[in-house]
Amino acid sequence: MSGGILLMQVLSGLSLGAILFIVASGMTLVFGTMRVINMTHGSFYMLGAYLLAITFNKFDQHLFGFIGAFLLSAAAVLLVGVVVEFVVLRRLYSGEHLLQLLATWALMLIFEQLTLDVWGSATVSPPTPASLSGAVTLGSTTIPAFYLFLILLAALIYFALWVFTNRMGIGRSLMAAVEDHELLATIGVNVRQLYTVAFAIGAFLAALGGALIAPEVSVGPGIDLSILVESFVVAVVGGLGNVNGAVIGAIIIGLAQSFGATYIPNMAEAAIYFVMVIVLIIRPRGLLGREEF
Amino acid sequence: MIETTAALTVNGLTRRFGAFTAVDQVDMTVSEGEIRAVIGPNGAGKTTLFNLLTGNLRATAGEIHLGGNTINGKRPHELAQHGLTRAFQTTNIFPSMTVHENVVTALLGVSRRTLRFWALAGERIEKRADEVLDLVGIYEQRNRQAGILAHGDQRALELAIALAPSPKILLLDEPTAGMSPYETQRSVELLRKIWRELKLTIILSEHDMDVVFGLAQQITVLVSGRVLADGAPTQVRSNPEVISAYLGGEDA
C-alpha cells in the first residue's frame, strides 16, 4: 500500500469522524447535563439534512450560500428542539428514565413519518458548493477539499464548545451539571433554563452535522436511525457526557469506518460495533468515562 | 480476651473527599455485646464513618476488623453476609412490597438464596420473618404495603430488615430521627428489648442526648472527623473538652 492511499484513508476517516463528532458531542452534552438518552437526536440530524437540501437550492452554489444555508437549517432545528423540550421532556424529568426514553423514541417515529409525508421516499442530494468540490494536492495525493473543510469545521466547533463551557457562565453551569447532577439545584442554578439550553445546543449540533454531510450522501428516510446509533457508539466509546471523549470516539469510529470499508467491505458496518465491544471489555465506561454514569 | 472480645476494631480510619477530610485517623474498639454511641455535631463525620463501616464508601487509609477479619474494601452485600447490617437514617425499605415480603427479602439476601430462580422463599424463612416482625411489634401490619405505613412503623420495619439476618453487629444511623417524643421513647424501649433478647453489638449515631445517655454503655465523640473523647457516659459527660466543643453548645 502506498503512503498516498494511506493518507487518503486517514483523511477520509477523519472527515467521517468530524461529522460524528459534531453530532455526538451534542448527544453527549444532552446526556451529561440532563441524564436523558435522546432518541430524537437522529431526527434532528435528518431534519438538518433535508432543510439544507431545500434551502441550498435557493442560494447560488457559493460557499457563503452554503454556510448561510446550513446555519439557517441548524437554527430552524434548534427551534424545533426547544419546542420538543418545552412540550414533552419538561413533563417527564421527574419520572423514570424509561418514560423519557419512550417519549423521545415516539418523537423519532413521528418525525420519521412526517419527513416521509413531506419529502417522500426518494432521496435528495444537494450539490457540493462549487468552491468546495475541488481537490487539494498534497504531495502525490489529491484530497477532496470538502474533507478538509469538514475537519476544519469540526475543529472550529470543538474550539467553540471549549470556549462556551470554560469561559461563559451558562456553559460553566452546564459543565457543573455534568460533574455533579445533585448539587446543581442547591447552588442556585436555574435548572429548567439550563436543560432548555442544553437541549437546544444538542439539537443545533445534530442538525449542523446533518446539514454538513448532506452534499456528500443521499438524504433519505432511515438516515436518522443510522446516525443515532453511530453517535451512541461514539459517545459510549469516548465516555458518555464527555466532549473530549466524543473527539476520541469520533476519530476512532471514523477511522474504523474508513478502513473497514476498504479492507473488510463485508463487515464494514459491523466494524464499529466490534470496536465498541472491545473498548467496553477493557474500559466499561468508555475511554474517558467517569464512574457515576 | 476472656470476657470482652472486640467485635469491631477500627485503626487509623481516614476518608478524604478531595481536600476535605471527613474522617480523620479514627481509632475505635467496640466490644462484643456493647451499645456504642457515636455522637458529634453536624458534619462531624458520623455518617461518613458509618458508610465506611458498611462498605458504602471506601476508606482512604486505615483498617477495619470485624471479628478476626479485615473488611476493608468489602462491598455492602459481603458485609451483610459477615454479620454486619444497617438501619439507615432515612427510611430505606422496599415500598411496594408488603411488610412481610420486605423482611423475607432481607433473609433471602443474607442467606445467599436469591439467585435461586426456581425456589420460593420457603416456610422456614416466612416463619422467621414473622418472628422478627413480632419482635419489633409490627406483626399485625404484615400484609400491608410497606410504602403506606405510618412513619414510626416504617422505622420499625427498617429495624426488622436490619435484624432479620441475625447480625452480630447492628449499625443504627440516627434511629429516632424525625420521631415525636412518644415515638422516640417507644423506640428506645424497643432497642433495649432487642439488645437484651438478641445479645447484639449495637453501634448507633444519634443527636438526641436523652437517647444516647439512656442507651449507650460507651460513647465516642467525633468532632471534625477526629475522635475527641471515648469512654463511658459519665466520663464523657464530665469531659471539659466535650462540654465546650459539643455538649455545652447544644442545650435542647
Binding site: H97, V229 | H77, P95, L108, T114
Partner: protein, 337 residues
C-alpha cells in the same frame, strides 16, 4: 412518609394469592385455544402473531418493567432464537434438537451481552443494548451466504405433526403459555423478590446482602432464553425468517406493548401485544400514517397515563372496591382492609 411515586407507578401492591387473576388467565387461554375452530386462516395467523409477541413482550417486561433494566435490544435474542432454529432445521438437524438448542443459544448470547454491558450504570446499559442489537443486525446482513442476507430464509420445514392448522396453533399456544407460566414462577421465586427489591431500592438491597450485578446478569439471561423461545415459535408458525426480526424496531415493539398494556402487571404486556397487533392489522390497513399514530399514542400514554391499559383496569377496579368498602364502613359492618 409518602411511598416512592416512581415505583408505585409501575407496581401495584403484590397480592400473594389472587384467584380472580388466575381464573381470568385460564379462561382467556381456553378461549384462545378454541381459536382454530372458529377463525379464518388469516385471523388465525394474526392470532399466532399476537401469541408469540405476547410471550416476547412479557419476557422483555421481565427486564424493563420488573427488574428496571432498560433493554432496548431484545430483538437480538428473539431474532437469534429464530435464526438459529431456522438454520439448524434447514441443515438437517432434528426438529426437537433445534427447538431446544436455539433458545439456549440465545441465552448464551444474552449472557455475553449482560456480562459486558451490565458493568456500567442503567442508562449506559440502555445504550449498549442498542449497540449490540445493531451489531447483530449487521452481522446477519454481512453473513448473507449463511443467513440469506436481506431475503432471509424462506420455506423452512417443520414436522408434519405440527404443520396442520390446528396442531400448529395449539402447539404454539401451549408452549407460549407454559413458558409464560414458568417465567411467572421465576418472578415469584426468591430470585424474583430480589430483583424487585433491587429495582425498588438498590442501596437497601445491597445492604441486605444482594449482589446486584449477578442478579441482573441472570435476569438478562433468563429473559434472553424466553425471548429466544419466542423467536423459535415465530419460525414454527411463519416457517420463514427475515432480518427484520433483528431490526431495531423489533426491539422497540415489545417495550411499547408493555407500556400499552401496563408494565406493572405480569400479563399487561401480553394484553398490550393483542391491542397493538389488532390495531396495526385493522387501522394499519387504512392509513400509511401508522408510525405517526403509534408515536402520538405512545407520547400521550407516556405523558398522561404511564400505567397502561391493564394498570388502568386495575385502578378502576380499585376505585370501585374502595367505594364499596366505604359504603360497608358506613353501614357499620366493615373493618379496615
Amino acid at each position: 412518609m409518602q411511598p416512592d411515586v416512581r415505583t408505585t407507578l409501575v407496581t401495584p401492591p403484590r397480592r400473594t394469592r389472587n384467584i380472580s387473576i388466575v381464573v381470568v388467565a385460564v379462561a382467556a387461554l381456553i378461549v384462545l385455544a378454541l381459536g382454530p375452530l372458529v377463525l379464518s386462516a388469516s385471523l388465525q395467523f394474526l392470532m399466532l402473531t399476537m401469541i408469540v409477541y405476547a410471550l416476547f413482550a412479557v419476557a422483555t417486561n421481565f427486564l424493563v418493567g420488573f427488574s428496571g433494566l432498560l433493554s432496548f435490544g431484545q430483538a437480538v435474542f428473539f431474532g437469534f432464537g429464530a435464526y438459529t432454529a431456522a438454520l439448524l432445521w434447514t441443515h438437517g438437524v432434528p426438529f426437537w434438537v433445534g427447538f431446544i438448542a436455539a433458545p439456549f443459544m440465545a441465552a448464551l448470547v444474552a449472557a455475553f451481552v449482560a456480562v459486558v454491558s451490565l458493568r456500567t450504570s442503567r442508562l449506559y446499559f440502555a445504550l449498549l443494548t442498542l449497540g449490540f442489537s445493531q451489531l447483530a443486525y449487521e452481522i446477519c446482513d454481512a453473513l448473507y451466504n449463511f443467513t440469506g442476507g436481506e431475503t432471509g430464509i424462506p420455506g423452512i420445514n417443520i414436522p408434519n405433526a405440527l404443520s396442520g392448522n390446528m396442531a400448529n396453533f395449539e402447539f404454539v399456544l401451549l408452549v407460549a403459555a407454559v413458558a409464560a407460566l414458568a417465567l411467572y414462577w421465576v418472578r415469584r421465586s426468591s430470585f424474583g423478590m430480589a430483583l424487585q427489591a433491587i429495582r425498588e431500592n438498590p442501596t437497601r438491597a445491597e445492604a441486605v446482602g444482594i449482589h446486584i450485578y449477578w442478579h441482573h446478569v441472570l435476569a438478562y439471561v433468563i429473559a434472553g432464553l424466553v425471548c429466544g423461545l419466542a423467536g423459535v415459535l415465530y419460525v414454527v408458525y411463519q416457517q420463514q425468517v427475515s432480518p427484520s426480526l433483528l431490526d431495531w424496531t423489533t426491539s422497540g415493539e415489545p417495550v411499547l406493548m408493555a407500556v400499552l398494556g401496563g408494565m406493572g402487571m405480569y400479563l399487561g404486556p401480553a394484553v398490550g401485544s393483542f391491542i397493538y397487533l389488532f390495531l396495526q392489522n385493522y387501522v394499519g390497513q387504512f392509513t400509511v400514517q401508522w408510525p405517526l399514530l403509534v408515536g402520538a399514542a405512545v407520547l400521550i400514554l407516556v405523558i398522561v397515563y404511564p400505567r397502561g391499559f391493564v394498570g388502568g383496569l386495575a385502578d378502576a377496579f380499585g376505585w370501585i372496591r374502595r367505594r364499596l368498602g366505604a359504603r360497608e364502613m358506613v353501614a357499620g359492618e366493615g373493618s379496615s382492609p
